[in-house]
């Protein structure tokens, strides 16, 4: 057994241990903290699986923004926990456990018994990389071969925004999402919120830019930009924009909108919907991604901010 395998086994064990702790611990807040740690370690698993693109996404989302989202909710729901909630009885718990184990076993069996004749699209993806001029295969799949999924996924993000906003009280519609954060303007948080964003923005743009040829991409970069924005909001340096702002709305649809326009351009003048002419493929894809990183950063930030709560000042 090599050192790498031992490391992998230890990693898997720690991840599962954290998973069990997250499920079993009494306090919701602890469970949330456990889940954040879990998310970060899962990112390591992705590195071991040689899927660095996913590792970046998982770290940014599972451990990062998802963690912030859950922690914020857990803090706001602390009082709810005190109320008695119906805990399922022993029979329910045992049968739930038995069935979960059954499903997990079946899955494990199914994965381990997959036929040896490996089915993969990796060679096909590599063979068609000429069509885009980008060398990161994952970006090629996301932006060219399965571009429809990516476009629809951006619509999902937009619908999530509509869904979250729809939970606003009628009186607050059009106003600012989330509470207004106050912090000591000379405090550490404000200091960090002034110091970090320039660095963070550079890193975010770098990760996005390098995504054409190396692991990275619009989503991972957008997540970093979103976190910088959130930091400034939490430090009270800036406020969330009012949801009726036309400019905000425009940014939120810029990514999927440009995607759609380029796609329709392919339908009208090119080979097919979402087909890029090989000569223009790289600039077109980068253009869409630039619009997308703006949209993603704003969307993620607003999803974390929540529903509009304060009506905008007239």
């Amino acid at each position: 057994m090599s050192i790498a395998t031992i490391f992998e086994i230890v990693l898997a064990a720690v991840v599962l241990g954290l998973g069990i702790w997250t499920t079993a611990v009494r306090e919701t807040y602890s469970a949330t903290v456990g889940f954040v740690a879990y998310g970060l370690l899962v990112a390591l698993i992705w590195v071991r699986l040689d899927a660095v693109d996913v590792a970046l996404t998982e770290a940014a989302i599972g451990g990062g923004l998802g963690g912030v989202l859950l922690l914020g909710a857990a803090a706001r729901l602390r009082n709810a926990e005190l109320m008695v909630t119906e805990t399922p009885g022993k029979v329910t718990r045992v049968s739930a456990a038995a069935l979960s184990v059954l499903i997990a076993t079946a899955l494990a069996g199914a994965v381990l018994l997959l036929p040896d004749s490996v089915s993969t699209l990796a060679p096909t993806v590599v063979a068609h990389a000429w069509a885009t001029g980008l060398t990161n295969p994952v970006t090629n799949v996301l932006m060219a071969f399965r571009a429809m999924d990516t476009m629809l996924e951006k619509v999902v993000l937009l619908l999530a925004i509509v869904g979250v906003w729809s939970l606003a009280p009628d009186s607050a519609w059009g106003g600012h999402p989330g509470p207004r954060h106050q912090a000591d303007p000379n405090g550490v948080l404000a200091f960090l919120a002034r110091l970090l964003p320039p660095i963070g923005i550079v890193v975010g743009i770098y990760i996005f830019w390098t995504g054409a040829n190396h692991p990275g991409g619009a989503f991972q970069g957008g997540a970093i930009l979103a976190s910088m924005w959130l930091l400034a909001i939490m430090a009270g340096l800036t406020d969330t924009p009012p949801v009726r702002s036309r400019r905000l709305r425009f940014i939120l649809v810029a990514g999927p909108g440009l995607f759609l326009i380029v796609g329709l351009g392919g339908l009208c003048f090119g080979a097919a919907f979402l087909a890029y002419p090989p000569a223009l493929a790289k600039p077109l894809i980068l253009g869409i991604e630039i619009a997308m990183i703006l949209t993603i950063a704003t969307t993620l930030g607003l999803l974390l901010a929540g529903a509009p709560e304060r009506s905008a000042k007239r």
Partner: protein, 592 residues
């Protein structure tokens, strides 16, 4: 159904661009409406809906001209690398149904969700989500790739959940929460199946998979997980915990969409999975199991529906029963050998889905008008509705007749096809359930109509007058459902000729009378409420005469309702879900 011809799968056919447009147009509408906001939201929706409907009609027209499904390769990348959109007869029928329902609902909702000069919450959310549901459904009907279908399913869920809680009351928020969590559980199980299928065959394209899938343990696990996940999203008994509160709590226009269309999305993917992706896999036992759940849903949903006091809850539980009805076609289409045998049964099932989509949406719209006018929707308090909102009550009655399976409704034709298949294959037990479904539907429709036609016990109207356009939209949709049996389905679904409903002989009439008469009996036995004022005393005498039987029946139905409470408890429903996954895997194993 048109047989997919292998040579045509990997190239874009003429007219294929229509498939792209039918997805892109609603999506463009969403983006545009979101940016413009204010009072333009409804305008954008009203501009998009005619265009989208025209595209659906164009697809209907284009399909019979080619000899095979319409295909479009997105980005010009053939599967397995790229994603294909395909439209066969099933897709075309569902596309048309979705367009019809969306149009009617939009007309109905035009007044309820009219935007003010400054942007308000409900209209903004409603119109965007209406377009989103349409786009998601079209993607589901056309998607040729299992992962694209997953994204579309999530799109559908994300559009449907906020509609449930649009009114923002605590109970609707709770209903939306349960819906969201259970739907997410369902889609995760579906995604698990996709992971396994990709691991097995290196593709998620439906046509390619159908050539590669074989009987392997991993494929069985995948099929079982995907099926149960989709059933959870379809709310097939006993996985219906989220449906009644969600569909009853939403605004009426949204209820019509949720009940008529949204549950059909996941149902359609089950059909694709069983008939297109892995026709050899499920086999006899699994088909019997899925239809048994459907049968249970019919009995259970109908009995609980008859006990509801609120009209919208009654219709929601009736949806539960009708969903069960859709699954009766599986064993009839697969036959005893476990192979796809009867295309007629499949056609019947899809026709049932189309006619339910239109009829149930009409029913919810009619109920919405009644609710708005009377200010409440308690069934014993419906008296006078027949005079105050005659068109809506008529629409309710017509859609009820269509659901019961009366000629010339689509449901009638569907039922005939299924009964025929049941007779041919000797699976008489499903024929019994098919008839029972019609009778139960008759019971609750008659029950509601009895109260609605009764004179009012008070003169004042509490609500506002229902807009005439909305009432007409409901009526048009109900008529559409009732006339579905006369449409030329032959080009899209395999329906044998000469089976059309132009023969009104004695047998047809007796078939029509069965649900009505049976329904009356059931309504008398299981209807909970006192007969409305002003009814002939004979009615009361009849009730006294059947007193003991009725009491026993009511006690039984009370027991069923209590069972429903247990099944709608979160842990029970989840345990049912996982048990079903295990059962499906086991029954598919039995088959080979």
């Amino acid at each position: 159904m048109l047989a997919p011809s292998p040579t045509l799968d990997a190239t874009t056919t003429t007219g294929g661009f229509l498939l792209v447009l039918s997805i892109v147009v609603p999506v463009a509408g969403i983006l545009l409406a979101f940016v413009l906001g204010d009072r333009y939201v409804r305008l954008v929706a009203f501009a998009v809906i005619p265009i989208g409907s025209a595209i659906a009609v164009a697809i209907l027209a284009a399909l019979p001209q080619g000899n095979g499904p319409l295909v479009y390769l997105l980005g010009d990348w053939p599967p397995p690398l790229g994603i294909a959109l395909r439209a066969d007869g099933l897709s075309a029928a569902m596309l048309a149904a979705a367009a019809a329902v969306i149009c009617a609902v939009a007309v109905f909702a035009a007044a309820d969700f009219s935007p003010a000069t400054t942007e308000t919450r409900a209209p903004f959310v409603f119109w965007i989500l209406l377009l989103a549901i349409w786009g998601a459904l079209n993607t589901i009907f056309l998607g040729g790739d299992l992962f694209t279908l997953y994204v579309a399913l999530e799109l559908l869920t994300f559009a449907a959940v906020p509609l449930v809680s649009l009114e923002g009351r605590a109970e609707t928020l709770r209903a939306a929460m349960r819906y969201l969590l259970f739907a997410l559980l369902g889609s995760v199980l579906y995604l698990l199946g996709t992971a396994l299928l990709y691991g097995l065959h290196g593709t998620l394209d439906i046509v390619l998979l159908s050539r590669r899938v074989s009987l392997e343990p991993a494929a069985l696990v995948a099929a079982a997980l995907m099926t149960t996940g989709l059933l959870a999203k379809t709310a097939l008994f006993p996985l219906h915990l989220w449906l009644p509160p969600a569909h009853a709590g939403a605004p009426s226009a949204a209820s019509a969409i949720l009940s008529g269309l949204v549950v059909k999305g996941s149902f359609f993917i089950v059909v694709r999975l069983w008939f297109n992706v892995m026709p050899g896999l499920p086999g006899f036992a699994a088909a019997q199991l899925i239809a048994a759940l459907g049968g249970a849903a019919i009995v259970f949903g109908s009995v609980v529906a008859l006990r509801q006091e609120r009209l919208k809850l009654l219709i929601a539980y009736s949806t539960l029963a009708q969903i069960g009805y859709l699954f009766l076609m599986f064993p009839l289409a697969f036959g005893a050998s476990g192979r796809l045998e009867s295309g007629d049964a499949l056609a019947g099932g899809l026709l049932q889905a189309v006619s339910h989509a239109t009829a149930k949406a009409a029913m919810f719209l009619a109920a919405g008008s009644i609710y708005a006018t009377l200010g409440q929707d308690r069934i014993p308090g419906l008296g006078g509705a027949g005079r105050m909102v005659p068109i809506s009550v008529l629409a309710f009655a017509l859609s009820g007749l269509a659901l019961m399976g009366l000629p010339p409704g689509g449901a009638y034709l569907a039922k005939e096809l299924l009964l025929q298949a049941a007779a041919e294959q000797g699976q008489w037990w499903w024929a019994v359930l098919l008839q029972a479904g019609g009778i139960f539907t008759g019971a609750y429709v008659l029950l509601v109509l009895t109260y609605a036609m009764a004179p009012a016990d008070r003169q004042t109207t509490l609500g506002r007058a229902a807009p005439r356009m909305g009432e007409m939209a409901a009526l048009a949709l109900a008529l559409c459902s009732l006339l579905l049996g006369l449409m030329p389905w032959g080009a899209y679904l395999s329906i044998p000729h000469g089976d059309a409903s132009d023969k009104f002989d004695l047998a047809t009439i007796s078939k029509a009378l069965a649900p009505l008469l049976g329904g009356t009996v059931v309504a008398i036995l299981l209807g909970r409420w006192e007969p409305p004022l002003g009814y002939p005393s004979r009615w009361t005498a009849l009730l006294v005469a059947v007193g003991p039987v009725r009491r026993a029946a009511l006690a039984l139905s009370a027991l069923v309702e209590r069972g429903d409470k247990v099944l709608r408890w979160w842990p029970t429903a989840c345990i049912c879900l996982l048990s079903l996954a295990a059962l499906f895997a086991a029954s598919m194993r039995v088959a080979f």
